[in-house]
């Protein structure tokens, strides 16, 4: 789909402004941005004829005018207080419209061998160490748009055998201006051999105004390293949210990507993991909740490129109102990737007749000695279960809410950060019908 002239002019102007702001950026980055700009301006946003975008139309984005948010300080500490993780003992980095706000962030000491800071700052120093970790595949219109317009994000580097004891929290807040704004945060995480680190990306909108959030996070998981990534998306009701998480895993590494999608009118979360060393372990574990007219798309690839890898992929969605959930789970097992063990399950619960879900598992297996399973379900609550609960004296509304909670909570139980898990169990409860009664029900009887 080519970009209409008017949109082309707008994005080109934004690029020129971003390029002007980015003078002094390293040459390699200028080249990447130029290439991304050329690709984006010539191909534009994907259309529904593009197989990867068959179920998700982004026409609404092309039509709307999003501006790069004006520079300057908008958010205050009281604005962000509510989004701070409870009792976080680690670092909390705050980004406003994609730009690092050191003044709102909480910085605490990190072990030797760890670098944590704004990406922009790392780039102004040349950022040569970033080059191999910066532009991963797959690229699409949104990652190109990010590359051409990105200003800032986080750069986290964890040295060999270093364990970062507390999670690193990244808070991406969009503050509405008079005109709809766009933000293109870009994050790079490099976990050295044998290191361990947990990163929590949380996205939230501070106003109901329309916005476009288009984030890219690239993660290199070194040999025998462990990276756990959380992504929690609670953007505002008129937001468009795009995110690409691209991970490359070394030998014996462990990578987990947990996610919860609650917000935005339209969201697309992509996760692409390449198990590029032997015996790598990958877990993708996500929950999505849709209501009203929301459209929630999860688009994943797990690429087993080397032998002995194992992957688990669990996504569950609850769709109410007229919302629509889309899941594409592609698992590739390359010719060399013998002894791969891959399991995938996507389950969708429809709470209303108008809600819809499309689930597309795609297994591409080129090796012969592998174990791969997948399963996908879409359906309403099991009425037999509802009746069972009612026959024990539990009212119908609570029974339905509780069953929906039970359906989803298994995903959250895999979250190994108790604070995050509790926070999102609360959010899940609050989202469900009869929240008050269910909460009473679940009160720990001890």
């Amino acid at each position: 789909m080519t970009l209409p002239a008017e949109a082309r002019d707008r994005y080109l102007a934004a690029f020129k402004r971003a390029a002007a702001d980015g003078t002094g950026r390293p040459a390699w980055l200028r080249r990447l941005r130029g290439e991304a700009k050329d690709r984006f301006l010539s191909t534009g946003f994907p259309g529904v004829k593009d197989e990867d975008w068959k179920y998700t139309s982004v026409a609404g984005i092309e039509e709307r005018e999003f501006d790069i948010a004006p520079r300057g300080v908008g958010l205050t500490s009281s604005d962000v207080a509510g989004f701070f993780p409870e009792d976080a003992a680690g670092n909390v980095l705050v980004f406003e419209n994609g730009r690092y706000r050191a003044d709102l962030s909480v910085r605490r000491p990190l072990p030797p061998g760890v670098h944590l800071g704004g990406l922009s700052e790392a780039l102004s120093g040349g950022g040569d160490g970033l080059v191999p970790n910066f532009s991963r595949s797959p690229a699409n219109a949104f990652t190109d748009l990010n590359t051409m317009l990105m200003e800032d994000g986080v750069f986290l580097h964890v040295g060999k055998d270093v364990e970062v004891p507390e999670p690193v929290h990244l808070l991406f807040l969009t503050s509405g201006g008079e005109r709809p704004v766009m933000a293109h945060p870009r994050n790079v995480v490099v976990a050295g051999e044998g290191s361990r680190v947990t990163v929590v990306e949380r996205y939230a909108g501070l106003s109901d105004a329309g916005c476009l959030v288009n984030a890219v996070t690239d993660i290199a998981v070194g040999r025998s390293a462990t990276v756990t990534h959380y992504r929690l998306q609670e953007d505002g009701p008129d937001a468009y949210h795009f995110a690409s998480l691209r991970a490359r895993q070394g030998t014996g590494s462990r990578f987990a990507a947990h996610s919860v999608s609650l917000g935005a009118r339209l969201s697309r979360s992509e996760v692409h993991a390449v198990l590029d060393g032997e015996d790598a372990v990958c877990l993708l574990n996500g929950l999505y909740l849709g209501n009203g007219e929301q459209h929630v798309d999860h688009f994943t690839t797990i690429d087993h490129a080397r032998p002995g890898g194992s992957s688990r992929e669990y996504y569950r969605g609850i769709l109410d109102g007229r919302s629509r959930g889309v899941f594409r789970g592609r698992v590739i097992v390359r010719k060399d990737a013998q002894k791969t063990d891959a399991r995938q399950a996507n389950r969708n619960l429809l709470l209303s007749r108008e809600a819809e879900a499309d689930s597309r598992p795609q297994l591409e297996i080129h090796a012969d000695d592998v174990k791969c399973t997948h399963g996908a379900t879409v359906g309403p609550l099991d009425e037999e279960k509802v009746f069972y609960m009612r026959s024990r004296g539990i009212d119908e509304c609570s029974a339905r809410g509780l069953l929906a909670y039970a359906f989803a909570v298994g995903i959250l139980r895999r979250f190994d950060l108790p604070d995050i898990r509790r926070t999102f169990e609360e959010k899940l409860l609050a989202w469900l019908p009869a929240a008050g009664r269910i909460r009473e029900f679940l009160h720990e009887p001890e």
Partner: protein, 263 residues
Amino acid sequence: MRNGIPMLSIEHLHAAIGEKPILRGVDLVVHAGEVHAVMGPNGSGKSTLANVIAGREEYRVTAGSVLYQGGDLLAMPPEERAKEGIFLAFQNPVEIPGVSNLYFLKAALNAVRKHRGLQELDVVEFRDMVLERLRRVEMGEDLLRRAVNDGFSGGEKKRNEILQMAVLEPKLAILDETDSGLDIDALKVVAAGVNAFRSPERAIVVVTHYQRLLNHIVPDFVHVLVEGRIVRSGGRDLALELEERGYGWVQPPGVEGGEEAHP
């Protein structure tokens, strides 16, 4: 002997699933203190009868009436029936992953107690009571921590039903094929749980295909349901006779007086 308002009074009950009639005129009166067995071959409507009493909406009542303690049972939603003291032990107890057995029991018990104007039990009282009931059905404490019926064996599920009954203390318990899939030891445990529950204030309806459970839960009355009607009622001996002669011996309605009825 059978004085006062019956616990349950079913008259001329017709029920269908979709357009298919299953019950075609059932009459049954159950008083407090009584144990009734409803027996019948597969497809005779036994489970339908149990589910209609518990309020399952897929079973559509097309004619007749059901009074519970003199009130119109059919007008009550299932949760009301439960709160008023009706309990159905399911033939196939439902698995509810994600909800712990303990939470479930506590929520159910508190719903029932609230309705009866009783104080909700505090945490310690609740635990003590559950642990005591748990021993009755010889269940391990770990089953409380697990999700409701999730990954339970067939026997564990049936015991869990009896545990729920023992905790909720209903007035009218309906056991739907509670013996199916149980080995003899489990059957004895389940039967002992039910017998401990018997009292002059309570009534039990045991729905079963086989006589064997009735060796352990001895009924006061036995009814034979065939093609949606009770074709014969009697005492405990009727069950033994059925065991010996099979269901071919009793006739579907409409052919009564046929040759085989008078061997």
